[in-house]
């Protein structure tokens, strides 16, 4: 059987003014390119779950192929996409089904809105592919594929559910970044989060030896890849984190991950981060003032940590590990003064890199449910605007126009050439202190 696994993974902004501004701002463009260039680890895992008797092709579409372009034929197609591109994924699925190729849809969006996805698929896979895809294939071969398969929400890294992602499908392609997942989920449970915690029943960590095996397998495909850990929050457990870092240290890799500010609490962990080749940690700071962070997560964890942000960033960056500080604009406690507050905080903190996005009520999140109850969402479906840069709801303490204009102003302040160069210089001076 010949199976096509297709990732629809372009990144774009719908707001024309912001899109026009984006192409002229160097640092804004660079992170977008990085995200768009990452392979789909989910589909490489699906490939790993596919018995080797089948031929698997991994394809990436940044956009829907032109209508007059003939689609490559397969016996079965699996498609995965983000919310912002789900309409194009559905259109591709419809085209495949129209030429008689059965389609299975999966991924986060499909898991959160399965009834919607089912209208465009012969089968849908909800939650992780582990526990679902092998059954789907067996049923398909027996001519009795079901419309819905439930993947596992727990024990995904345990035998026999765990498989090594098939990195070799990437051979010969120009990737300089590859992804490896070390954990799934995050106990912080922030209201807006639309990541893997929505498809897991609890926080799950991959055994360290499996992580190392994946990195070794990936390095056989690309000799010196930069690794991006596809986690929501890698260092929830400091003990496990140190075990991981000690195992990464001898591999001589450079890598990036997402975590929370508590990494700065542990001196030994910070030393190990630097020694193991960590180039950057992305941290969801979300807002520079504690008042804005109330009720963002059920335990107000981020609000309680906010006053320590500056000191923590300094502690991390002094190890030569840069911090990519993430801020969300348009939280319910944000007024029109938030834009200047973020700009000033970034300057004070000396952040090497900054990621600013607008609050986005992704379907299936508590944020989406709350804003829907409050009648503040744009008419649904607005999925193509879930880009993290387009406003899809009515903010509480400013108008949508004020939020959009303020975001453009802040982007111009943070991502211009002068700021870009200053951040580069800051990073170089940090490195010099360490060598």
């Amino acid at each position: 059987m010949r199976i096509g696994l297709i990732a629809m993974s372009g990144v774009r902004v719908r707001n024309p003014e912001l899109a026009a501004l984006g192409v002229s701002l160097p640092q804004f463009v660079s992170r977008g390119r990085v995200i768009a260039s990452l392979p789909s680890l989910g589909l490489l895992t699906v490939a790993g779950l596919t018995p080797r008797e089948h031929e698997v092709l991994y394809l990436e579409f940044a956009e829907l192929p032109p209508a007059d372009q003939e689609l490559e034929r397969f016996d079965l197609v699996g498609i995965s996409s983000f919310t912002a591109q789900i309409d194009e994924a559905y259109a591709l699925a419809d085209r495949y089904r129209a030429i008689g190729v059965p389609v299975a849809l999966g991924g986060l969006h499909v898991s959160l809105l399965p009834e919607e996805a089912a209208r465009h698929a012969d089968a849908i896979v909800v939650n992780g592919a582990e526990g679902a895809w092998p059954r789907l294939l067996q049923d398909f071969q027996a001519g009795r594929m079901q419309p819905r398969y439930e993947g596992l929400r727990a024990r995904v890294f345990e035998e026999p559910n765990y498989v090594l992602p098939r990195f070799e499908l990437l051979r010969g392609r120009p990737y300089n970044r590859l992804t490896v997942q070390t954990s799934r989920g995050c106990p912080l449970d922030c209201e807006f989060c639309a990541a893997s915690l929505r498809i897991t029943s609890s926080f799950q960590q991959k055994p360290v030896d499996k992580v190392v095996a994946e990195i070794r397998a990936a390095r056989e495909v690309t000799s010196q890849p930069f690794f991006e850990l596809a986690d929501d929050n890698t260092f929830i457990s400091k003990k496990w984190g140190k075990e991981l870092l000690r195992a990464l240290r001898p591999l001589g890799i450079r890598w990036f991950t997402e975590t929370d500010i508590s990494v700065a609490d542990d001196e030994e962990l910070l030393e190990l981060l630097a020694e193991s080749g960590c180039a950057q940690v992305l941290i969801g700071l979300e807002s520079p003032d504690a008042g804005s962070l109330a009720s963002l997560d059920p335990h107000n964890w981020k609000q309680r940590r906010c006053d320590d942000y500056l000191r923590a960033i300094e502690r991390i960056q002094s190890r030569g590990v840069s911090v990519n500080g993430c801020f969300i604009l348009g939280l319910d406690n944000h007024g029109p003064d938030i834009f200047e507050k973020v700009r000033d905080f970034v300057a004070r903190a000396g952040l090497i890199e900054v990621q600013v996005t607008v609050q986005t009520p992704f379907p299936g999140t508590p944020l989406h449910a709350r804003l829907k109850r409050e009648g503040r969402l744009l008419p649904e479906p607005y999925w193509d605007r879930c880009t993290l840069f387009d406003v899809t709801y009515e903010p509480l303490h400013m108008s949508r126009a004020e939020l959009e204009a303020g975001m453009r102003w802040l982007f111009s302040e943070l991502y211009n050439e002068r700021e870009f160069l200053q951040r580069k210089r800051r990073y170089m001076e940090l490195v010099k202190q360490r060598i």
Partner: protein, 84 residues
């Protein structure tokens, strides 16, 4: 220090930091592409060059310092200016 000596030292530093054999690397060859450096590695390398040669490259020229030749010229030019 003459240009040839600067180039020899730049190549030695590059080889040491990238753990690669850079002896066959062309003078104008793009280091980022050839060695597969990410942006932070590129900056780390420039920082190491600045420290080793006791120079400071103008910030606006950092992006252009992508070959052995450009680095040698950048070092020689920066040496004529006082180190910040």
């Amino acid at each position: 220090m003459k240009g040839e000596e600067v180039e020899r030292l730049v190549r030695a530093l590059l080889g040491e930091l990238s753990r690669s054999d850079v002896s066959a690397l062309g003078r104008d060859e793009d280091l980022v592409e050839h060695l597969g450096l990410d942006s932070l590695q590129g900056l780390s390398f420039l920082a190491a060059v600045e420290k080793r040669f006791q120079v400071r490259f103008p910030d606006e020229l950092l992006a252009a310092l992508r070959s052995v030749g450009a680095l040698v010229e950048g070092i020689q030019s920066a040496r004529k200016e006082p180190v910040a």
